[in-house]
């Protein structure tokens, strides 16, 4: 295959697909055992300094925030991050735990640009490689189907390509130019779901974003769930399971785990909290205050929820969208 163009962005995680196969063979436990644990234990056990980490979410939707907060609390550092996210990336950047960032989009849509991301990039502190949304998701897809790269027709001709680590090649079958995306294998992936059993079989309601692909592209996988359900419920509706247990290393019970984001059919996002947070994020001092108040000074997710308060949580539940 003839390579005719190369993006000059740095490739932060090599597509070691043979290594991934070996890992999956040797390290992924097929055993049907209980994996239920706290955020603290899950992060201690499965997140290391220097890991390449990714979170599955879209905007403020179904965001695994209780795990993100715990990572910040434990100060796991020099992380390399797949930045198809928002508050996950923002919190880690705010706490200065990120070394490199494969970015596609970090922004709050109607609420504006992230001041934390701006400071991190504009100071040149964090190394950034660009991708499109489809680009980064297809990179997960390549890893999930077990191939070192995937040819696509996106990103061609743009600076998004020029500042990525993709390549353009001539297709050996058609002679067309195609963009080759390297598989993205995560050291650790984190996904928040509606329901899971203690073994890790997980159900997502509504749209599934890139959970399917990311779960299968992760060496280690932490699942947090709004509700822990009996295994019988899983077996009754197996077609609803996006993530089967053998992909999963830790199951964390995290009601309101997406707060200040939302969880479709369960609770709305906390608009008030988000606006106040973004206001604080405008300055480095404010950012520190926010982290202190909402992360460091709360021992765990339970204390965090106590701080948010029942009244607010009930209000967010009432505002939820019906079917």
């Amino acid at each position: 295959m003839k390579i005719i163009l190369e993006g000059k962005g740095e490739l932060f995680q090599k597509p070691d697909i043979e290594g991934f196969r070996k890992f999956v063979k040797e390290k992924k436990n097929r055993g049907f055992f209980k994996k239920l644990m706290s955020e603290k234990e899950a992060v201690e056990k499965f997140v290391n300094d220097g890991d390449y980490i990714g979170f599955e979410l879209y905007g403020t939707v179904r965001a695994p925030m209780s795990i993100v907060r715990e990572i910040v609390r434990q100060g796991k550092k020099n992380l390399r991050v797949a930045g198809q996210g928002l508050m996950d990336v923002d919190f880690l950047l705010a706490a200065d735990l990120v070394e490199t960032l494969d970015i596609t989009y970090v922004g709050y849509e109607v609420l504006g640009i992230s001041p934390v991301l701006r400071r991190a990039c504009e100071s040149g502190r964090v190394k950034v490689t660009e991708w499109s949304n489809a680009g980064i998701t297809w990179r997960f897809k390549a890893a999930s189907i077990g191939v070192p790269f995937i040819p696509v027709r996106s990103m061609l001709g743009s600076d998004t390509f020029n500042f990525s680590a993709a390549k353009v090649a001539i297709c050996p079958f058609t002679g067309m130019k195609v963009c080759l995306l390297p598989a993205l294998i995560l050291d650790v992936g984190v996904i928040h779901v509606h329901k899971a059993d203690v073994y890790g079989n997980a159900i997502i309601e509504g749209i599934s974003g890139f959970a399917f692909e990311m779960a299968r592209a992760s060496k280690r996988l932490i699942i947090s769930a709004e509700e822990i359900v009996p295994n019988e419920e899983i077996r009754k509706y197996p077609e609803r399971v996006t993530i089967p247990y053998f992909l999963v290393d830790a199951v964390v019970h995290a009601p309101f785990g997406s707060h200040p984001g939302e969880m479709v059919y369960l609770y709305e996002r906390d608009e008030e909290h988000l606006k106040e947070m973004l206001k604080k994020f405008e300055t480095p001092e404010g950012t520190k205050e926010y982290l202190e108040e909402w992360i460091y000074s709360c021992k765990n997710h339970e204390e965090y929820l106590e701080k948010v308060g029942t009244k607010k949580l009930l209000k967010l539940m009432k505002e939820k969208m019906g079917r």
């Binding site: 596609t104 989009y105 991190a120 040149g124 680009g135 990103m155 600076d159 998004t160 749209i207």
Partner: protein, 253 residues
């Protein structure tokens, strides 16, 4: 004039959405336009949202491209790969985009102002923008008409328009027959000259002078022999827009 510029832009964008067409909808004005189209001339419009919502009934206006309202009473709740692959195999007719900067060929920047390594302003990034602009048949760009945004050259081509001119998209390997179709601004509607692929004025909004459009554009626009006036929002459009589409007042107040 009993309407705002935003309302006019929404109505113009809405009219571009045909019944039974597939539309890739981004945050903001495209959401309002799609909801309006569904209630008026395009009840069978198929709104598609990048994180997996297909065919939602837009009774309540989404505020983000992944939120529940993007698949409210939808036909399918799938994932981002399925949506992007649907675009890649040619099934999405229209894609709606915004940007911080645009050039004469419709190339868009949503990544950074200044040098990439240490930018003056870091913007959110491509998101699905690059994919929409690469893979949908026709891209419709909606943005504010200002000289600092309409530039001879953008700082960073996040999303490809016609790149450097005729044939450049195909030369880069992008799908044939795709590219920017319209630019809807608060002053005018623009299209792209078939020969040069450069931006051309199609119609100017009521009450706006040609000089105003030229002054607010940082490059030379192609002027057709006859410049039309954009059709004003109709009573019915405004009524539905205000009373039904954005009754919560998220976007229009």
């Amino acid at each position: 004039m009993n309407y705002t510029k935003t309302e006019l832009m929404i109505c113009v964008a809405s009219r571009l959405m045909e019944d039974y067409s597939t539309c890739f909808i981004g945050t903001g004005i495209p959401m309002l336009a799609a909801a309006l189209a569904q209630k008026l001339h395009a009840p069978n419009l198929i709104p598609i949202f990048e994180f997996g919502g297909i065919g939602a009934i837009l009774e309540k206006l989404p505020r983000a491209v992944g939120e529940g309202r993007t698949f409210y009473k939808a036909l399918c709740a799938t994932g981002i790969c399925d949506i992007m692959e649907t675009a890649q195999r040619g099934f999405i007719d229209y894609g709606f985009l915004g940007g911080a900067q645009i050039d004469p060929y419709g190339n868009l920047n949503t990544t950074c102002i200044g040098e990439h390594k240490k930018p003056k302003v870091r913007l959110p990034g491509s998101g699905g923008g690059n994919d929409v602009g690469s893979l949908c048949w026709r891209t419709i760009i909606i943005m504010k008409h200002e000289k600092k945004r309409f530039l001879p050259k953008v700082d960073f081509i996040t999303t490809p328009g016609y790149l450097t001119g005729p044939g450049a998209r195909e030369e880069a390997g992008l799908p044939e027959g795709t590219g920017p179709y319209r630019v809807v601004t608060d002053l005018a509607v623009l299209d792209f000259d078939e020969k040069t692929k450069r931006m051309r004025i199609l119609s100017i909004h009521p009450g706006v002078k040609l000089e105003e459009v030229i002054e607010n554009t940082g490059f030379e626009l192609i002027l057709p022999e006859k410049i039309e006036e954009t059709e004003e929002p109709k009573e019915e459009e405004l009524k539905i827009l205000r009373e039904e589409v954005d009754k919560e007042g998220y976007y229009i107040k």
